[in-house]
Amino acid sequence: MELVCPAGTPAALRAAVDAGADSVYCGFRNETNARNFPGLNFSDAEMAEGVAYAHAHGARVLVAINTFAKAGAMKSWADALAVADQAGADAVILADLAVLDHAARHHPRLKLHLSVQAAAATPEAIKFYADTFGVRRVVMPRVLSVEEIAKLNAAIDVETEAFVFGGLCPMTEGRCALSSYATGKSPNLTGVCSPPEHVAYSNDRDSTATRLNGFTIDRFGRDEAAGYPTLCKGRFVAGGKTSYLFEDPVSLNAASLIAALSKAGVTALKIEGRQRGKGYVAEVVKTFRAAVEAVEAGRDEVEVGRLLAGLVEGGRQTSGAYKKTWR
């Protein structure tokens, strides 16, 4: 199975390739990219150099241009497609209908992947994207069980890519308005969930408070694991009880499901984490490379959960919706 790995910087791209990535996904330093954080991402020249490095080492580069274009301001997205094409990228990961249409018309060399941001989870939706724009791969929304993915794969004739490790979004990818409710910016339009200029941490003797644009969204004790400063992972009072109302701070780990995902027809396994350091990228990619090879060779499973325990959000791991144990 193909291992698709994250890179937020050229150094992380090289780390991913060196650690055994089949493909690396990355994006430009602007609003076309759903990981538009300060200091992160690639200039036009860095993208061309990154593609050259990956190709020289037998890996592919998938460029994420996966935000939704603003009405009347399509130029940034069209430029990003042109630069990705010129850089020699192997595929682009898109979500927006207009961007897909532009890519299909003007950049026929580029393979089109449908971003998880498009939240296409039915055969009808996927067929529409495949028939209309020639989409060849769909990134599965993180709402489906393995059985649901198997049924979906039986009904479509494009490749599917499934997340196996890293951060989780609650169940409305591409449609989440929580960040824009609090800050005016969202991953969907400006490429940032909880933009860092709106995030503040304050430490006192016993705890750390997380504030998002003035709203206190969590407070954790000195010995309590922390998570990302997003509203979906904040703690709130509801029904007289304080709890993680939408989602716990926890990382996805579907390493134990690699064989099942393969059997379900999944083509590629995706690791989340373009905002993470190259230490994370190298370690996670190396571990999952070994895990995939072990499954393919019929050897004992690699203990991914133990090996990567020090890297996970909130100090906890979950198989997420793949098992839907809450049902």
Binding site: G8, T9, P10, A11, A12, F37, P38, G39, L40, P195, P196, E197, V199, A200, Y201, S202, N203, T208, R222, D223, E224, A225, A226, G227, Y228, P229, P249, Q275, R276, G277, K278, G279, Y280, E283, L308, A309, G310, L311, V312, E313, G314, G315
Partner: protein, 179 residues
């Protein structure tokens, strides 16, 4: 309960290192960072306007801290003892060996934050930009002392080997372990 990384320097090291705060360490580091900026300007391009922000890097196992303004060829580094009450745009606190591991990419900053090994405060946008710029720069000791070629490789090898040994002695995770 979170399992924090170990790696605090022994108290004797803190005691012995204290006089360093009164040496011209700040000037030496300022000179080194400016030299690095001339050799590898890409890191400072990535940092952009955040280079003019002030970053207080406070090792929890030393009695002094570093105030860094990473403004390329105009960069400044000052050493401050605990008596200095200084305001900075960003504050990062953690064991020295862990903070050095962030500089060379051994550790992942988010993981250190999740497991509470480091504390951060102040402007998160500046901190994120600084972290990402450092991450991409692939910093090596030889970059700061202006060495090139074989001798640079030897210096880097010995410094990284020394850091590995120090991490082993203090119980900090090594490169390749729970980063």
């Amino acid at each position: 309960m979170v399992e924090r990384f170990k790696g605090e320097l022994p108290a004797i090291v803190r005691f012995l290192a204290f006089p360093a705060a009164f040496l011209p360490l700040g000037q030496a580091l300022t000179f080194a960072v400016r030299r690095f900026a001339r050799r590898k300007p890409a890191m400072f391009d990535r940092l952009g306007d955040y280079g003019r922000c002030s970053f207080l890097i406070a090792p929890t196992d030393l009695d002094f801290a570093f105030l860094v303004v990473p403004d390329g060829a105009r960069a400044e580094v000052r050493t401050l003892t605990r008596r200095h009450g200084v305001e900075a745009d960003v504050t990062v606190k953690g064991p020295l060996l862990v903070l050095l591991g962030l500089l060379d990419g051994t550790f992942d900053g988010d993981a250190l934050f999740f497991n509470r090994t480091i504390d951060v405060a102040g402007r998160t946008d500046a901190l994120v930009a600084f972290r990402n710029a450092i991450e991409d720069a692939e910093l090596k000791p030889s970059d700061f002392v202006g060495l090139k070629g074989e001798i640079a490789g030897l210096l880097d090898k010995w410094v990284f080997r020394g850091l590995d040994m120090a991490r082993r002695l203090t119980g900090a995770p090594m490169g390749g372990e729970a980063r």
